[in-house]
Symmetry: C2
Subunit: 212 residues, 2 copies
């Protein structure tokens, strides 16, 4: 349903986005024309119609600044990753949550729900959300989201020559040793944050209340 945008159309869309971020209101056609150096508001009007046709925006008819962005807001939360599927495949996405990507550096791209306690001693517990920056480059000592074979795992990375280690931070788990010239190791991203929802699990005992 979503035809590809032309370069110019993507430019218009980006302009709308940044105008919205800066002023808090959608731009009018004359304002867009001025910013983009276009003399006629009709050119803008036709661009907006094209963006509507391609599903990028909605236009409220006869309403000043009636432009609505139709992008999905928030970051996707990835659950169990199906074997071999790309991280952001629909089957892996459990929902979208309003986490600001700019709260973390480098910029957050998605959330990954952790299962198991292999990173317990780093304060990453079962059910926690790892905030992930998507990249295929990682440095020694960083916590990475890695794909080994068809498994996706979160571990601390250590590389020496052609040898790589994926190190859990829990003595009950074993370090995974890899030979980069033989084994496949794909870096999916690096962990830039952790989010835990303390009220998510089973409710606490219904004991008496305390007020102060």
């Amino acid at each position: 349903m979503e035809t590809l945008l032309t370069a110019r159309q993507a430019e218009i869309l980006a302009t709308i986005r940044s105008f919205l971020a800066e002023t808090g209101r959608p731009p009018s056609r004359p304002e867009l024309a001025k910013i983009l150096g276009i003399a006629s508001t009709n050119a803008i009007h036709k661009h907006l119609e094209a963006l509507v046709r391609k599903g990028a925006i909605e236009l409220e008819p006869h309403v000043a600044r009636g432009i609505r962005l139709l992008e999905e807001a928030g970051l996707p939360l990835i659950g169990r990753v199906a074997a071999g599927s790309p991280m952001l495949a629909i089957e892996n996405v459990m929902g979208r949550y309003p986490v600001d990507p700019s709260l973390f550096t480098p910029r957050a791209d998605y959330l990954l729900q952790v299962s198991g306690l292999s990173m317990r001693d780093e304060g990453i517990l079962d059910g926690d959300w790892i905030v992930v920056h998507r990249t295929s480059e990682a440095r020694n000592g960083q916590i990475v989201v890695a794909r080994v074979g068809s498994d996706v795992t979160v571990k601390r990375l250590k590389v020496r020559g052609s040898k790589a280690e994926l190190i859990p931070s829990n003595p009950d788990f074993q370090t995974l040793h890899l030979d980069l010239e033989r084994d496949s190791l794909e870096i999916e991203g690096i962990a830039v944050g952790v989010i835990r929802n303390l009220m998510a699990g089973p409710p606490p005992s219904r004991g008496r209340r305390v007020s102060a």
Copy 2:
């Protein structure tokens, strides 16, 4: 600089806020009048001027829907709490961060930076941000932000009769035993989440890069 808003003015402001949240654009005066059941747009206009005088909004002159909300966005991050000062006193606020209050339940009110490792075994580490819901009521077993004397502390709460315990989750620290009939125990809020910025501390070793 901020005079108190009247009930009606607060209602107008709330209407603007929710209109913005629902439609993505600020309301026009006729739209506000219709929602609030007011016949004349002039009444709205004067309300908006009052809101400008009181510092709640900004108005861009001669611009359709030129209403800007001037609220501080995001949640305040509380650092070291000065003895005896209220939690949200300016001297305690280290900044504001774009965390969506509705991401947690019950609603998040502020962030509290943890110092020390007394809750290490719950996965709450030194420097982590605790997401706090402000309330003076807590239940047994919840992690609370409590004030004992002039100290603010984060611990798990346990109450039996008139005895209360503030329990760390790290065997290296000691449980604080309180007699509610003698000692002062103020509940400032309950912890509803944890946020950790993994890239905050010292940068990782500048080892060689790995790409895949």
